[in-house]
């Protein structure tokens, strides 16, 4: 394929997705620029000493990446999906051994002057690999155990990510559940998942006795309505027993899986502890920055909380605070709207696909984008515990913008065919 061919075919690239992408990247860059306030320094936009300068370079590299992606043959993507997954797994394993510890995680490798976070590409590779797996023809055994195989692809990635102490990213791999659900995963799994989450939160919030009491009440209600159906009654009894066992496991799991700071964050979201100057400092400052934005925001370069560094990680994980403080509720609505338009557009396009690979892939990345978006904003507004993951296309970070750009533009490219 030549450059002219790209130009000729570019008309059919989905213009909506490209526009959303450009909007998000632009908003992101300005948000990073605004957060690096320094009243004394005359800013050189291209300086490499400031995040916005470096981000500009990464945006440039992303454009180059887009060009390359549009130039390569689609078949290359289909046929190398699993290889790419394998390659990323290898890198992830290497990272475990060579990565220095940065704020508790061993997730970064240094290449020259830059740090890379391979897990970002692991997300892309998993999406591609899942799409490939679902779209390939399968043996009978594969067909029977399709969810097991698919879960294996995700599970390995999750375990490696966990080993890197990158809980946030590990959590994001669960986003493929959206793809699974769309492809026929039983609703029961989701119900079980929701129950597990509910019991977990309820037990942490109150205690084992209350939770069991609540479960028993629900069970007895079902018992009454289904007393003619012996099978269902028996099933419910199994569920009850399993639930009760799980209830007692909750605190053990909670104390063993999570690290101290994560437990503190969960406790503060559940309202069990309040320590605005200590453990809850970040959340508190995040809420203050967002809340003080008001309806219209304080205006560009006039935000106090961001510019005076009250909000931590303000160009990466907490970038949303800057946008909320600077542009207020209106700005937040616009940002949320663009994100939802992007994600829904991907789903709509996926549904239209005749090529199953693109369909699966579309759902995979729609889920990834939504999880990132929902977890990131959810934590800044105090709905979810604080988990460090980037806001796609917005947050500062070379690997993250390269990976998200690749995810989106592979879809745009494949969609075109």
């Amino acid at each position: 394929m030549t450059l002219t061919a790209v130009k000729n075919s570019s008309k059919s690239y989905d213009i909506q997705l490209i526009v959303y992408y450009i909007l998000l990247v632009t908003i992101g860059w300005f948000a990073i620029y605004a957060s690096a306030y320094d009243k004394d320094a005359a800013f050189d936009v291209f300086t490499l000493h400031k995040p916005f300068g470096r981000q500009l370079i990464w945006i440039g590299v992303s454009l180059l990446e887009i060009l390359i992606l549009l130039l390569i043959d689609n078949k290359l993507i289909y046929s190398y999906a699993h290889y790419f997954y394998g390659f990323c797994l290898l890198i992830m394993v290497i990272v475990l051994f060579v990565a220095p510890e940065i704020s508790g995680a061993r997730a970064w490798i240094r290449i020259g002057a830059f740090s890379m976070q391979p897990v970002e590409f692991m997300k892309l590779a998993t999406a591609l690999s899942l799409a490939k797996f679902f779209s390939d023809s399968k043996t009978e055994r594969q067909r029977q155990n399709i969810w097991l195989y698919a879960s294996l692809l995700i599970g390995v990635a999750i375990i490696l990510t966990f080993l890197q102490h990158d809980t946030g990213s590990a959590l994001v791999f669960l986003s493929f559940i959206i793809l699974f659900y769309r492809e026929g995963l039983s609703t029961n799994f989701l119900i079980i998942g929701i129950m597990v989450a509910f019991i977990f939160i309820f037990t942490l919030l109150f205690n084992e006795i209350y939770t069991i009491g609540a479960l028993l009440t629900v069970f007895l209600i079902f018992w009454y309505f289904q007393r003619k159906n012996k099978r269902k009654m028996l099933r419910n009894l199994y569920i009850l027993i399993a639930s009760v066992i799980f209830v007692f496991a909750v605190n053990i799991l909670y104390n063993n899986i999570f690290q101290v700071h994560q437990k503190q964050r969960i406790d503060s979201i559940l309202g069990k502890s309040s320590d605005p100057k200590g453990a809850d400092f970040n959340l508190n400052q995040s809420l203050i920055a967002i809340g003080s934005g008001g309806f219209m925001g304080k205006g560009f370069q006039r935000s106090t909380q961001m510019q005076l560094n009250f909000v931590p990680e303000q160009s990466t994980d907490f970038i949303f605070c800057g946008i909320a403080e600077t542009f207020g509720f209106v700005g937040c609505l616009v940002l949320v709207a663009i994100f939802m338009l992007l994600i829904i557009r991907i789903i709509v396009l996926s549904e239209k696909q005749r090529n199953p690979f693109v369909h699966y892939y579309g759902y995979a990345i729609a889920g990834l984008f939504f999880f990132h978006f929902a977890i990131n904003i959810g934590m800044t507004i105090g709905i979810l515990p604080i988990i460090g993951i980037p806001l796609p296309f917005i947050s500062y970070g070379g690997t993250s913008i390269l990976a998200f750009t690749a995810m989106l533009f592979i879809f745009i490219k494949l969609d075109n065919n």
């Binding site: 009243k39 809340g291 003080s292 106090t304 005076l308 909320a324 939802m340 959810g378």
Partner: protein
Amino acid sequence: MDLSGLKKRQFIIMGAMLLIVLIYVIKLFHLQIIDKSYEKSAERNAMRYLTDHPARGLIYDRRDSLLVYNEASYDLMVVPKEMRTFDTADLCRTLDISTEDLLKQINKAFNYSSMLPSLVYAQISKEDYSYLQEKLFKFPGFYIQNRTLRKYPHPVAAHILGYVGEVDNNILEKDPYYRMGDYTGLSGIEKAYEKELRGIKGQRVVLVDVHNREQGSYDNGSQDRAAWAGQSLWSTLDLELQRYGEELMKNKRGSIVAIEPATGEILCIVSSPGYDPNLLVGSGRSKAFAELMRDTVQLPLFNRALIAIYPPGSTFKLANGLIAEQEKILTASTIYNCNGGYRVGNHTIACHHAGATNLVAAVQYSCNSYFCRTFYNIVSNRKYGSTQEGYQVWKNYINQMGFGVRFGTDLPYESAGIIPSVDFFNKKYRGRWNGNTIVSMGIGQGEVSTTPLQMANLMAIVANKGFYIKPHIIKAIGEKEHANTRYDEVIDSRIDKQYFDPIIRGMVMAVQAGTARRAQIRGISVAGKTGTAQNPHGKDHSVFSGFAPVDNPQIVVFVLVENGSWGATVATPIASLVMEYYLNRKIERKDLEESMMLLKLY
């Protein structure tokens, strides 16, 4: 796999996503629009209201000499978090402290807060400051904070000037002006004129970052207010005279009060022994204060001129003479015979002289018999009906002259002295008493007690021939032309002018050829009265009270020297030297001056 059957799930997925986003939007709406508390929190976070402390007003003497000013003082502060490795030995050398002490301070700072500044070394001298300033770049995290300290260029009038110190809870509760750590006048002029001296605080609104570091002014300083320096005060004190008085009183206990009679302005007020006001400044104040407090022998903090009460002695006779004249109990030509004493029952109040005496001579020779008789004649006069009534008439006059009451002007704490009430004597003598029972009060002994300030005021009444203005210490506020009018009320002593003539004549005679001859000054006519305040604990106190020049009184001087025996020996020459110095600005009697300065009475 049956795609078409699962196709509807796309709507469930999109619906769930939109539901989550809707929850987020509602939460955002609540955070940003409903809940206004975050705006305030943001303000608290980022804005600091800093107070600019105004410079405290200066204090001048009546001739524009500076008595109190502010001196910049420098404290070395540290923000532990900003500290980097530095040459501790170098810093210790600069500050002249041991490494141990420095590390102790830094540890303390760490324990307090790693983000907020803590004091490392207080009151760096000006010389060390400039030296340290040059080197400060080598010590990151350290910075110098400017403060001001009260400074007294001349170590005089400590009791009257007072001192400043940190406000206590009591003051904090009463006056919203003050914040913890602010300074306020705690005694003397500093306290009496605190409102004028303190000025108006300024305010700066600055933005601070998360580490509490200043990041510039808020909104270009639109909410900033400059501090207004406190008003300067002009004291009525004459610095040179004050210093001279203190030199004369060196090594003696006692006090000098000099007043300009026409205005009530205090020219000098000495309480000896005193202390250097510079001791009670800055960080050493509490320690120095405790040390001065501990000195129970010298009582350097005790302001004898205002608080100490003494039997007034013979100078009190003048008041009794005046009252008797005003009450027409005697005239200038009334003669009482003195046989060397005044007999009361089987007890005699001795008198140094003998013979027929009129009022002028009685004053001149300080005749005890004469004034005992006079006092008796007032108190036990038939025209009042009873002793009680008679005493009350006398007491009213005495109170009117400022005895037994406080002036309540801008001076530090004063004693009221003691002028007993009728009830007091009724109780003491079970109602059976007359003028002779308490006749020693007629010569300034017995139950009467006065302060040196009150005695000086009596002499001002005499000099003014009938009126006085309450003695006070501040002449002008803000500008020298802006006179302090708080204490310019003319108070009538209720003694008519003509009655002063014989008294004054007697006092002039006392100086020329009586008990107070040592008060004579060449070329200046002096009126004076010696006294001896009886002291049951030791040698009597030497007292002199007088004014000069007689025709146009410029200065009233009262001197009391504890254990100085009788008036003529110590108090009279000192008072005379004070008058001479004030009126001539030089001393001719160098020998007298020298002998008085060298005289040691403790």
